[in-house]
Amino acid sequence: MGLLTIIKKVKRKEREMRILMVGLDNAGKTTIVKRLNGEDITTVSPTLGFNIKTLNFRGYKLNIWDVGGQKTLRPYWRNYFEKTDGLIWVVDSADLARLEDCKQELHAILQEERLFGATLLVLANKQDLPSALKLDELGQVLQLSSITKRHCHIESCSAVNGEGVLKGFEWLVKDISSRIYMFDH
């Protein structure tokens, strides 16, 4: 409970969190956020920039930045790292052909200094598909055990049937709040 924590909390607006959501294209990022807010998910199209969603969740105001994952957009991700409290990496668990690509992009982004303080939530999406890789296998392929310097959690989910989405966000928000809003309790 150092001075830095106090300054950090005083400096930011009341109980706000900035969450950055990235991952390869077609992983389901936009659909997950829509599902979180209970919106229609039948009309989602590829994100050609960002979708920002500002909403209240468990007493916090979340600003979720869902940035498009197409190859041409990935070089721009770094423009959104600043002040990020939570990083959500979304994986298409059934896109086995691109898992290696997915692993490399994830580990590249974790090298970013401006994200060192961010909690990491990996959402293993599309678990409703029969070909989806299960959590432990996915964790191995993505080498999550090598991530030791930050709070990290993997949650299986399906944006289509809603399973796991809330649980993932609940973990993330709880982890962030215990780090930066420790005086609230």
Binding site: L48, I52, G68, Y80
Partner: protein, 180 residues
């Protein structure tokens, strides 16, 4: 004298008598594509802007004054004021240049008095991107006599929206609202 975010936040307390930047201040090609207002609990849409995509300039009705292009009048059902949570969604396009530090400040007035301020920083915008910003927020709890006030004063509720790139004002839009 240039109009900065600080100046807007500190000095403007009632609707501005004129626009604080010319239309061509938007040299970055920022374009609004869609605006939706909905009740977030029932998901009922109360306003959806007509889609401008695919329309050419010739399709648009002639305007006498170009300022008409940046003012809009909204009619909302009065039960809007009883919604618990509202969802607004804005979709916009960015020109070929990247934008740094893109920010919106919107001031709302009722009977010429400032009642609410929204200040949101989009930050960086990718060149040629299409972006959305959805805000889901709780409405203040209006008492019945307050609602009646809004209903009895059509267009008494006004707003000024200012869009900045860094310290530079690039767009200024106005809106008026009535509740029926």
């Amino acid at each position: 004298m240039s109009v900065t975010p600080q100046k807007v936040l500190q000095t403007i307390k009632s609707p501005t008598p004129r626009y604080l930047c010319p239309l061509d201040a938007n040299k970055y090609g920022v374009e609004f594509l869609k605006f939706v207002v909905a009740d977030n609990d029932s998901k009922t849409v109360v306003y959806e802007s007509p889609s401008l995509e695919g329309l050419s300039l010739a399709d648009l009705p002639p305007v006498e004054n170009e300022d008409q292009l940046r003012s809009v009048k909204y009619t909302f059902p009065r039960n809007f004021l009883k919604f618990n949570t509202v969802r607004t969604a804005l979709e916009f396009k960015i020109g070929p240049q990247p934008l740094n530090d893109f920010r919106m400040i919107e001031l709302h007035y009722f009977k010429n008095k400032l009642v609410r301020t929204y200040d949101f920083s989009f930050g960086f915008c990718i060149p040629n991107s299409v972006n959305t910003w959805e805000a889901i927020y709780d409405l203040p709890e209006y008492k019945d006599d307050q609602i009646l006030e809004y209903v009895k004063n059509p267009y008494g509720h006004k707003s000024d929206s200012f869009y900045f790139v860094g310290q530079e004002l690039i767009m200024h839009n106005k809106a008026e609202y009535q509740y029926v």
